[in-house]
């Protein structure tokens, strides 16, 4: 297994090619490796790197992400070349392959995707293949769906059914920031992923897909598959990508499939999701046909899984297959991997019985399911996430178990009466926070806005307790801003501590809640207030400055001049318009971004869970 060891060295040194050369040259391996080693390096050199210097806070995240992708990619490449060459010598053979790849459906019949959808895609492709010579406008199919429902596989299968070659746009390996710094001396120009993609689209538009790599490209038909759109941050980048895709839709002459993974949750606090939605909409406006894939049904998943079991000659009971199918949440890729993992287990017998005991609760819903998976026995399946509003509802409604008071705490320290609370009827708040994957700040803001509705009219003391905890968590969050925090690990733990304080404070403080009834969760008014505060502040500073020819500090301005001016009815001359507007715009932009991310979350409402 010399190969395996070699891979291990690669992993360590993969961020630095020079280093790698030195290390690996000492190995006795006789295989010339220059042929595959050069390639990733070249790719890496020419590609993207973190964005401009001003945004370096973001770029640190990018750096980490880029590093990770580069790392994984290179690792996989090395692994690929390793395993293919040594297939015979190691003797593991095909059984070590991932089942996901091995049992990839090749014909339309094998697909687990709903027949209608497949048919839809097929007809669309057929149409555009026939008319591809002509000037038909509709060549682009936009396929949207959650992860692992078989979007790309469908395209491949349809293509092979139609006898077309799939030409894929591969995302280039990203550049690491240090690499960029290193290269900047040597005169290599930096290109972002977005730049590359733009170039690619440009090329496709101008020259079509006549490429040397496609042998006999003129004969066979070609389907262009864009699986991996560049990730965009910020409005500007999103706009560029949109323009670029619109051009592509309007002018491309080969059938094209664009895949967008839909992460589902519309109320996710992650604002990059909104960009994807925007892009989808703009693509549709440009004339792309949208086909949205649903999660795969349990039945078709079961069929696919049992087919694989048969092919692999494994004995897996129908119940187990059903369990796996259900746990995967409609994600067939995940289900197959789970199945493979499951079949690896040496002792299937005892573990099976333990699943059976718990399995009914799987049906009840996602939160129970997580509980089930956090148990020691089972470790596959996708943890389903819950929405931010669901989580907030849990925290605000604060359901407790009145039946067994203090049952949980009997062995612990004896608490005073006023500190005693009934046990919670939910998971630990931190687990729920994890599932809701919300950022701390919005969660705290939401709690602050809404918690008073849930406190009994009599219990002003409770209100104070809750408020004081919220104030604590604000303090924790503020400690991040004061120091320009470069230590992300510390930042993360402070964030989660703040969230935990806020949530637990809310749960603890609200000891006399109102009997549960229907409540609408409001969106924090605080955001609007902050927005108008900024605008007013800028406006005022500029106005006053111009009229009085001396500078006053802001406080004086607001507390003395402004009220007086109102009494006097004195109008300030409006000659400060020029820069007033510019500064306003800036602030608005910034805030708009903030607000945008929340806008449609506000429309959601929760009922009594």
């Amino acid at each position: 297994m010399g190969r395996g060891k070699r891979n291990a060295t690669l992993v360590i040194s993969s961020s630095d090619d020079e280093d790698f050369l030195v290390k690996s040259s000492s190995k006795p391996a006789s295989v010339p490796r220059t042929n595959y080693k050069k390639r990733p390096k070249k790719a890496a050199l020419s590609n993207s790197c973190p964005r401009s210097r001003t945004q370096s806070k973001i770029s640190d995240f990018d750096e980490a992400r880029l590093f990770l992708t580069a790392f994984i990619k290179r690792f996989c490449e090395e692994l690929d070349s390793g395993t293919t060459r040594f297939k015979v010598s190691t003797g593991c053979g095909s059984s070590k392959d991932l089942w996901v790849d091995k049992h990839k459906p090749h014909s339309l019949e094998e697909l687990s995707v709903h027949k209608k959808k497949v048919e839809e895609v097929k007809t669309l492709f057929e149409e555009s293949l026939i008319t591809s010579k002509g000037k038909s406008s509709n060549h682009v199919i936009l396929i949207v769906g959650p992860a692992g429902v078989g979007k790309s596989v469908t395209v491949h299968a349809v293509a092979s059914h139609l006898g077309a070659i799939v030409y894929e746009w591969n995302t280039p390996t990203p550049t690491i920031w240090h690499e960029h710094l290193h290269n900047s001396g040597s005169g290599l120009r930096y290109m972002s992923k977005l730049d590359e993609f733009e170039h690619f689209v440009e090329r496709i538009r101008k020259y079509g897909l006549i490429l040397s790599s496609l042998v006999g490209g003129s004969r066979t038909s070609v389907i262009l598959l864009i699986d991996d759109l560049p990730l965009v941050h910020g409005k500007a980048a999103c706009g560029r990508l949109k323009r670029c895709l619109n051009l592509l839709v309007q002018s491309v002459c080969v059938p094209t499939a664009i895949l967008i993974t839909d992460y589902g949750k519309a109320d996710s606090t992650d604002y990059t999701m909104h960009y994807w939605e925007e892009i989808q909409l703009s693509l549709q406006d440009a004339g792309a046909c949208k086909v949205s894939f649903n999660p795969i049904t349990v039945n078709s998943m079961k069929k696919a899984l049992s087919r694989i079991c048969k092919a692999e000659q494994r004995e897996v009971s129908a119940e187990q297959i059903e369990l796996i199918a259900k746990a995967s949440g409609g994600d067939i890729r995940n289900a197959i991997t789970s199945l493979q993992y499951f079949c690896l287990k040496p002792h299937q017998g005892p573990s099976l019985s333990s699943y059976d005991g718990i399995s009914p609760c799987v049906k009840e819903g996602s939160d129970e399911m997580v509980h089930f998976f956090s148990g020691p026995s089972l470790s596959f399946g996708r943890d389903d996430t819950i929405s931010l509003f669901h989580a907030l509802g849990k925290f605000l409604h604060n359901k407790r178990d009145p039946d067994n008071p203090t049952a949980a705490d009997r062995d612990s320290i004896v608490l005073k009466e006023k500190f005693l609370r009934l046990p919670l009827k939910m998971d630990a708040p931190e687990i729920i926070l994890c599932q809701a994957h919300g950022q701390t700040r919005p969660i705290v803001d939401f709690l602050h806005e809404n918690v008073l509705d849930f406190i009994s009219e009599e219990a002003i003391d409770d209100a104070w307790v809750v408020q004081s905890y919220l104030s604590d968590s604000d303090l924790l969050l503020a400690s991040l801003n004061r120091v320009l925090c470069r230590n992300y690990e510390a930042e993360n733990s402070v964030q989660s501590a703040a969230a935990s304080v806020a949530v637990r404070g809310t749960l603890f403080g609200n000891a006399h809640q109102v009997p549960s009834r229907w409540h609408a969760v409001r969106r924090p008014k605080l955001w609007e207030i902050e927005k108008s505060l900024w605008r007013n502040k800028h406006q005022m500073a500029n106005e006053r400055c111009v009229t009085s020819l001396t500078m006053h500090d802001h406080t004086v301005n607001v507390t003395e001049f402004k009220p007086m001016l109102k009494w006097i009815g004195y109008r300030t001359p409006k000659n400060s318009g020029a820069y007033e507007a510019s500064s306003d715009d800036m602030v608005e932009d910034e805030l708009e971004r903030l607000v945008l991310t929340k806008e449609d979350t506000s429309e959601d409402e929760i009922e009594d869970w």
């Binding site: 210097r53 001003t54 370096s56 602050h448 008073l452 509705d453 406190i455 009994s456 009219e457 009599e458 219990a459 002003i460 003391d461 409770d462 209100a463 104070w464 408020q467 004081s468 919220l470 104030s471 604000d474 303090l475 969050l477 503020a478 801003n481 004061r482 320009l484 008014k525 605080l526 609007e528 207030i529 108008s532 505060l533 007013n536 005022m540 500073a541 500029n542 400055c545 009229t547 009085s548 020819l549 001396t550 500078m551 006053h552 500090d553 802001h554 406080t555 004086v556 607001v558 507390t559 003395e560 001049f561 009220p563 007086m564 009494w567 006097i568 009815g569 004195y570 820069y579 500064s583």
Partner: protein, 354 residues
Amino acid sequence: MLWVDKYRPKTLDKVIVHEDVAQNLKKLVTEQDCPHLLFYGPSGSGKKTLIMALLRQMFGPSTDKVKVENKTWKVDAGSRTIDVELTTLSSSHHVEMNPANAGFQDRYVVQEIIKEMAKNRPIDTKGKKGFKVLVLNEVDKLSREAQHSLRRTMEKYSASCRLILCCNSSSKVTEAVRSRCLNIRISAPAEDKIVKVLEFIGKKEGLQLPSGFAARIAEKSNRSLRRAILLLETCRVQQYPFTHNQAIPPMDWEEYVSEIASDIMKEQSPKRLFQVRGKLYELLSNCIPPEIILKRLLKELLRKLDSELKHEVSYWAAYYEHRMRLGQKAIFHLEAFVAKFMSIYKSFLIATFG
């Protein structure tokens, strides 16, 4: 033009309120080189007026020609460049600005502009190299780092640049900076001085001031000359000729705060707390600084409160004011204070009246 600006004394000789300080300053500038200066005192006591008059004394009437600029500095901070935007007010001899408005980037601004000023220093008529004056407002709001960097630059560029610092409380200015400056305390003007100024303005405007009216305004003004003059002008707009017992209009936000206070006293419940939050939002969105809201609110509450509770309430107000400064979103802490007050007051009511 507002009277506050119109009757601002232009030269040190015309100053009414702090005559002694003005004369001393005049002597200081005419006889010798001017050191760095630090003016401190409550707002509305005439610091800025003195500074402007002093500048005029130093450089002549050309300091009156000022222009307002919204400047952006590109600051190189290690691995990246930061854009800092700030409004400045400048003449050919001085630059005035509020570095605290730049937030936590304030230290870059101070350093950068002082360097810039040092680079192109003016040559005065006698052929020797002159200096420019940098007026920094609200020095007490600068961060520690900024004050620290201020200390360094003060020494380094003292040949080409004089600093005039201006703040409300010198205790928030670091020792190091204070010791490098000539500290000048401008106290709040006494009420009879304010009356004198008001009468002076009245005479200039040709107004009939009934006896005791100026004194009433002075009393209302909290010994802030600025506020007194503003009040006088407001009264003039509202009703003239003045009557003996004319109502002096209060500040609208102060009215609003006392309204909040009476709301709080009337009912203590989460629902009321929510309404109070709405009113606090109203104040905040009108840019009233949260510290001032809290201070005013406390004052209003204490006025209506049983003396038994005053101590405890003040303690909590101080507690939450501290947290407000440390924290990020003021409303959290303001509201927590209100909630705490409600909780204290309610239990007091129950204990007293059952």
